[in-house]
């Protein structure tokens, strides 16, 4: 940790301090909009649960648990994608293209890695909020679900990865319209296809191969197995893929900032 003295005051320039300093304004934004954010975070997962969990009433799955118990971890992973990605990408997009306040941050003595991680914190917090609200609901509806330490780790990892994907999308976006295109072409298909509402193993091998190229398939596999350890074996390789995907996204974001290709 680096601390320098200026006029008798200490300056906190350590890496973790920098991450906190970058995230602070986003946390204030969350504080100002807390109830609005809470409603937005829980509304779509709740609708998915009602429509897919109860509307379709598919009974017991082939792994021996109720469909509600099967789908809730899927909705948690979906929530980690949609909430984390949307909150980070929307705010950063507005700060970068409209307020220009992101430029101010880039002109301050902060490491590019701290900026990427700090800007991901809003998505991490909001994604975790959505996931744990859904899990709390699942405790009443599906007693088979378990909150294992591995499930907590998978949720945090998933939220962090998709939040950084939001940072990347916002750094690449040339306009609000290009963000919407990214949403329609990448995020929306992932939402429905990546094993959130059905098991990927029930599909043709070719479709499986395509879906396993997408990070949400690995996230939903990890979160579901971690929440239902009594019937599913944990896919460690999916966890590794998710970590590697996160590292790649982080490195691309850092490269874009360092080379000012934004």
């Amino acid at each position: 940790m680096t601390e320098t003295n200026v006029n008798g005051y200490r300056r906190y320039n350590g890496f973790l301090h920098q991450v906190y300093h970058v995230a602070w304004s986003d946390m204030m934004f969350l504080k100002h909009n807390f109830w609005n954010t809470l409603v937005m975070t829980i509304m779509s997962p709740l609708l998915y649960l009602i429509a897919f969990g109860y509307g379709l009433r598919t009974g017991t799955t082939d792994i021996g648990v109720s469909y509600v118990a099967f789908v809730i971890p899927g909705i948690m992973s979906l929530s980690s994608l949609s909430s984390s990605f949307a909150s980070t990408s929307t705010r950063l997009n507005v700060q970068r293209l409209y307020y220009k306040s992101f430029d101010e941050m880039v002109m301050c003595p902060l490491s590019m890695s701290a900026i990427v991680l700090g800007k991901s914190m809003l998505g991490l917090v909001r994604g975790m909020l959505g996931c744990f609200l859904m899990y709390a609901l699942g405790l009443f509806l599906a007693p088979d679900l378990q909150l294992t330490p591995l499930a907590v780790i998978c949720v945090i990892l998933s939220c962090m990865v998709f939040s950084m994907l939001g940072v990347l999308a916002a750094l690449l976006a040339k306009s609000h319209q290009s963000m919407a295109t990214f949403n329609s072409l990448i995020i929306l298909p992932m939402t429905f296809l990546c094993g959130t509402f059905f098991s990927v193993s029930s599909l043709d091998p070719i479709f499986q191969a395509v879906l396993y190229c997408l990070p949400l398939t690995h996230a939903s596999g990890c979160i579901r197995a971690a929440c239902l350890p009594q019937v599913l074996e944990f896919p460690w390789w999916s966890l590794v893929v998710l970590v590697v995907f996160g590292i790649i996204v982080f490195l691309i974001c850092r490269h874009l900032l360092k080379t000012r290709k934004i």
Partner: protein
């Protein structure tokens, strides 16, 4: 007087387009230095290069002896930048914007609270601190942006078109703020396309066109070099300009040529610019 900014052969290209074409100049410590030129001349690109917001293509830029390419973080510590467009976060209050700026510079709670109080008292912003950004007028937003940029006590402050879009009263008030800051010891580099702004504020002015500095001196010397007195007269619907070292020379010229309708006035920096480039500062590329 020591040099606080040293720029040598600075080049910035965007693909085939050359935005800054090998400029070299220095800024003295404590100086109020101005960049004057039309839109698209390369003023903002130069500031963006020096303030590390844009990577430079070639050349060297030293701010307080620190190379902005080799040690970006070190260079950023000694400068503050105010962009042309007010770049405050409109989802936060003025105070929250100031706190986040102070935090980006690693300032602890005690130091940032003391500095926010000191600067908001100085700029008369106390009553606006807890208001949303959009409740302030353009001039007050600029002041708030200046406070944000000054919180960490930078040695150099860059102001990119600081009065662009402000009405004449707000512009005059901001000039006072800039003068006060400079008098308190801060080196200021500003870009402008307002002639009267460069003339009223700057110790030295660099006139920039097509990415090159075409003249650099104090405004008085630049004007004297062109001729202190200007004579304007219309010939076939087109205004012709003539410059003279003294009023007597100008009056003799008017009398000798029978130019009864000619206007005789003091030369300004716009005349200098027109003489050097053949076009007006207001002309856009």
């Amino acid at each position: 007087m020591s040099e606080i900014i040293e720029i040598k052969d600075l080049v910035k290209r965007y693909g085939d387009k050359v935005a800054v074409n090998g400029i070299s100049f220095t800024v003295h410590e404590g100086e109020l230095f101005g960049f004057l030129g039309p839109n698209g001349a390369g003023k903002t690109t130069t500031v963006r290069c020096v303030s590390t917001l844009t990577n430079i293509t070639s050349g060297t830029v030293l701010v307080d002896g620190v190379d902005v390419v080799k040690d970006q973080i070190g260079a950023k510590r000694c400068m503050g930048v105010i962009q042309q467009q007010v770049s405050l976060d409109k989802d936060l209050t003025i105070r929250e914007n100031m706190i986040s700026h102070a935090m980006y510079h690693g300032m602890g709670k005690q130091e940032r609270n003391a500095r926010i109080k000191e600067l908001t008292d100085y700029f008369g912003l106390e009553e606006y601190l807890d208001k949303p950004v959009d409740s302030l007028s353009g001039g007050w937003k600029k002041r708030a942006a200046i406070v944000c940029a000054m919180l960490h006590q930078p040695k150099v402050l860059f102001l990119d078109e600081p009065t662009s879009g402000l009405d004449i009263n707000a512009r005059r008030l901001l000039w006072d703020v800039v003068k006060k800051l400079n008098q308190s010891g801060t080196t200021i580099v500003l870009t402008t396309h307002y002639i009267e702004e460069a003339q009223a504020l700057c110790d030295r002015v660099g006139i920039i066109d097509h990415g090159k500095i075409i003249a650099l001196d104090d405004p008085k010397a630049l004007i004297e070099r062109t001729g202190k007195i200007a004579v304007e007269n219309m010939v076939d619907g087109k205004t012709e300009y003539h410059y003279f070292p003294s009023m007597k020379d100008a009056q003799d010229f008017v009398a000798d040529n029978g130019l009864d309708d000619a206007t005789v006035r003091k030369t300004n920096l716009e005349d200098v610019f027109v003489e050097l480039t053949g076009k007006s500062v207001g002309d856009q590329k």
